[in-house]
């Protein structure tokens, strides 16, 4: 028996227990719920990832402990 026939049989079997959704109509406007969700979960504005802070910290420490690298860094910028 091939896959297509298996599919047909299984579909028939499933339909014994689970019928297609008949009522898929939305009954109310969800915009108020959407606004509540936006209020509850505001998006962080311009959030800097932690690894950017880590890189900045490493660079700052390097410049502090090895100030001689500052002219070299400026030269390469």
């Amino acid at each position: 028996m091939n896959d297509e026939e298996d599919c047909k049989e299984t579909k028939a079997l499933l339909r014994i227990a689970i019928a297609p959704v008949k009522d898929s109509e939305l009954r109310r406007d969800l915009w108020p719920q959407m606004l509540r969700k936006l209020d509850e979960h505001p998006f962080p504005v311009n959030k800097v990832p932690w690894f950017d802070w880590a890189l900045a910290a490493i660079l700052g420490a390097a410049l502090f402990f090895f100030p001689g690298t500052i002219p070299a860094l400026l030269y390469h910028l």
Partner: protein, 175 residues
């Protein structure tokens, strides 16, 4: 500026217009996957929250409807993964399933249980393809995968179900 451009730029009014235009369609898609009104409403809102969150990545020249459906499908899939071991498969939205009175409730329950135990990604494609009879191409577009992969997942789901329900399969085959 066009509506989609204003939305991509973060204009809340443009987002509201898009929400009102597409909420019914997103809901109708999601409810066929999760088969529960309340959960489908929550997932519709979750879908649009994800849409708003990733608005900067949206190409204003692109197809908003297809993009929204893909995000909705992902949200529904995430829900199925979470809910797999927590809740039973809801049946409140389905029409009358078995017209055959000879089919016992116990049999139906066995089929439902086997279906509910499918891994989420197989259950999603099996629900849409086998129960809702959605074309493979539509499912593929909504999931962001190829039609061939959808077909493969349907066949895998069928194999898993046939293994679990081998005795029932034989009964149905003889009818």
């Amino acid at each position: 500026m066009e509506l989609l451009e204003r939305f991509a730029a973060g204009d809340l009014e443009a987002f509201e217009s898009l929400f009102r235009e597409h909420q019914r369609e997103v809901y109708a898609w999601v409810v066929r996957i999760v088969r529960d009104h309340g959960i489908a409403e929550d997932l519709t809102v979750e879908t649009f929250w994800r849409i708003y969150k990733s608005r900067a990545r949206f190409d204003a020249a692109g197809n908003f409807r297809a993009w929204a459906r893909r995000i909705a499908t992902n949200a529904a899939l995430d829900h199925l993964k979470r809910a797999r071991r927590e809740t039973e498969l809801p049946e409140g939205l389905a029409g009358p399933a078995a017209a055959d009175p000879a089919v016992r409730g116990e049999t139906r329950e066995r089929i439902r249980r086997a279906f509910f135990q499918l891994p989420a990604k197989y259950r999603l494609v099996a629900t849409l393809a086998l129960i809702e009879e959605e074309p493979y191409d539509n499912i593929a577009e909504a999931m962001g995968i190829s039609g061939a992969l959808v077909k493969m997942r349907v066949f895998r789901a069928v194999r898993i179900l046939r293994k679990k329900l081998s005795s029932l399969v034989a009964e149905v085959a003889t009818k």
